[in-house]
Symmetry: C2
Subunit: 352 residues, 2 copies
Amino acid sequence: MTIKDLSAQTGYSVGTISRVLNHQPNVSDKAREIILKAAAECGFQLNTNAKQLKQQHSTSILVVVKGISNELFASLVESVQARIAGMGYPLIVDYIDENDNEVSRAVQLCREKKPLGVLFLGGNREHFLQDFDKITVPCVLVTNDAAGLPFENLSSVSSDNVLAARMAIDHLVSLGHRKIVVIGGERQVSDTTKLRYQGCLEAFRQHGIAFDEELDYETARFSLAEGFRAARALLERGREFTALFAMSDVMAIGAIRALRDAGKRVPQDVAVIGLDGLAIGEYTVPRLATVRQEVEALAESSLRLLQRNIKNTPAPCHETIPVSLDPRESAATPRCGRTKPLPPDANQGSKS
Amino acid sequence: MTIKDLSAQTGYSVGTISRVLNHQPNVSDKAREIILKAAAECGFQLNTNAKQLKQQHSTSILVVVKGISNELFASLVESVQARIAGMGYPLIVDYIDENDNEVSRAVQLCREKKPLGVLFLGGNREHFLQDFDKITVPCVLVTNDAAGLPFENLSSVSSDNVLAARMAIDHLVSLGHRKIVVIGGERQVSDTTKLRYQGCLEAFRQHGIAFDEELDYETARFSLAEGFRAARALLERGREFTALFAMSDVMAIGAIRALRDAGKRVPQDVAVIGLDGLAIGEYTVPRLATVRQEVEALAESSLRLLQRNIKNTPAPCHETIPVSLDPRESAATPRCGRTKPLPPDANQGSKS
DNA sequence: TTGTATGCGTTATCAA
DNA sequence: TTGATAACGCATACAA
């Protein structure tokens, strides 16, 4: 079924058919009505290949997501999808491996799909420096800060990562902890890790807390298994600590498991705080203290920026979204002077 | 950059260029070499729109995934992606809402993308009955059983859902439990729930265990929040029980949280078992007992079937993948005769 | 307001 | 083994 068939059916020419189907104004009401009815009857749809071949660009927005099992990104995609529905752009969501180059992938997809703009969920400055000059449509990097990158068509929206880490450490300190260890990503490689690590160091300095950059830090990928491994490594290192900050919630959950396996109670022996604010943290035992990234705000800002840059072409803009502390059980007020094991429900924190 | 430009650059005609780029045999080695080099130099890529407009079909495989935040499906997609990489087909992954109609979406996408075949991750018999006749390429429904559906081009690969539920109940019974409640989906609507529920009833009957189909069952969607709510509803109902089977791991995790909030110890007061075998279950406190679905086997079989049906057109085939019990802490041997609270590490089960 | 005709980049048919 | 050329389905400039 093509517009030619529709033309034969209605008696109108393909030109008129095309105009009606593209909501152009210069068509008579009568023609519009007849053609729309005929199209609806046979469930007609324009051929996207032909359309885009002709137009040389699509009307869609591309979303490149780094990591298929990243729950934070999954929430972001959901939110973006819900918001875009009202704006009319079709969405092309492309999931790539956490370790793949998101920019070269985007370059390839831009050639193929010719989108109006692209949203990067996660990304690496290095990759942008290497390949981003090949892409010309407006882009927004979400979750990482692209300030300082020399591209006129790249904006960014990210949580305040430095502050987030500071808040996590501040919270632990306010609970009386002075011996704190940290689990996070590669400090030399991951942009996000760099910022969060900086926040940690600032907080430690401000509170006059000693922190050995080698012995009190363990590098891990952002996964349950790696959080588990990292916490065990810290324990085996023999370093004494009463609190642990993991740079992501999944790492924190893995770490809590390792601590429990080692006979440590959370939060009585070791307080644990994560970062992200994933839904699962509300349901773990103990409930996971965390610094929450505002998914809805991230999605809203990203789309607003992208839309603005698609319509006009203003200077790139780099927004920072506030974060908020969720002080839950895994880093709650420690019971004072307790030396004996607690009853089994102690993990439920201050409720008793 | 088009094949015309390449033609001008190399002196060969567009026909020869096209033949080389499509790995056709009837080209001289010299032409092949020259053209391939020129194409590589400028990073040339064929225009997919033009190609598909001409060919009337693509060479890709479509994957329709129901639910963007479904961890089981995320694992399946990862596995499928890894396997497909070696087979050469491009993958189109389309995520739709859990409640949307996957078949009508597939119909639309088939018109647009003309894939060689489609993989459904999750699906509903009703939807297939309604719309599937409009799709003509080979399809495999993964995770649900399509046996009995009157379609020549629809195969299916699913876990043995009846057995899985039986195994879960059997395990609880083997631990000495007789008062068991169940959380699952809509028994009238969800195909998967029907089978798992049937497995439960069979197990109860076999063991001579009483089960009130209204009072001992709570309907919930497959989420943390709903598992939590359902468990609380069961508690508030005043029904006594010593064990709980949740038809998914996320529900089970939500349920455990609700039980803890109500002062119940898991597994000492209430044993809990889930179904799926998600990674998170290895890290919860207590570790989650579960009946594991074999993601790798599901992915392997689905792709094998699909590929077979693309190459030949044999009769549809409906495979069942075995499941396996992971008897972890949340449903471990209960301590006998205990009445006092246990030490805090009791949740770690039989290790002490 | 409508119709006609051209070309988007590719594949495939045919002739050379 | 190669080149010329006609489609594929659509949007659009131009003519009517």
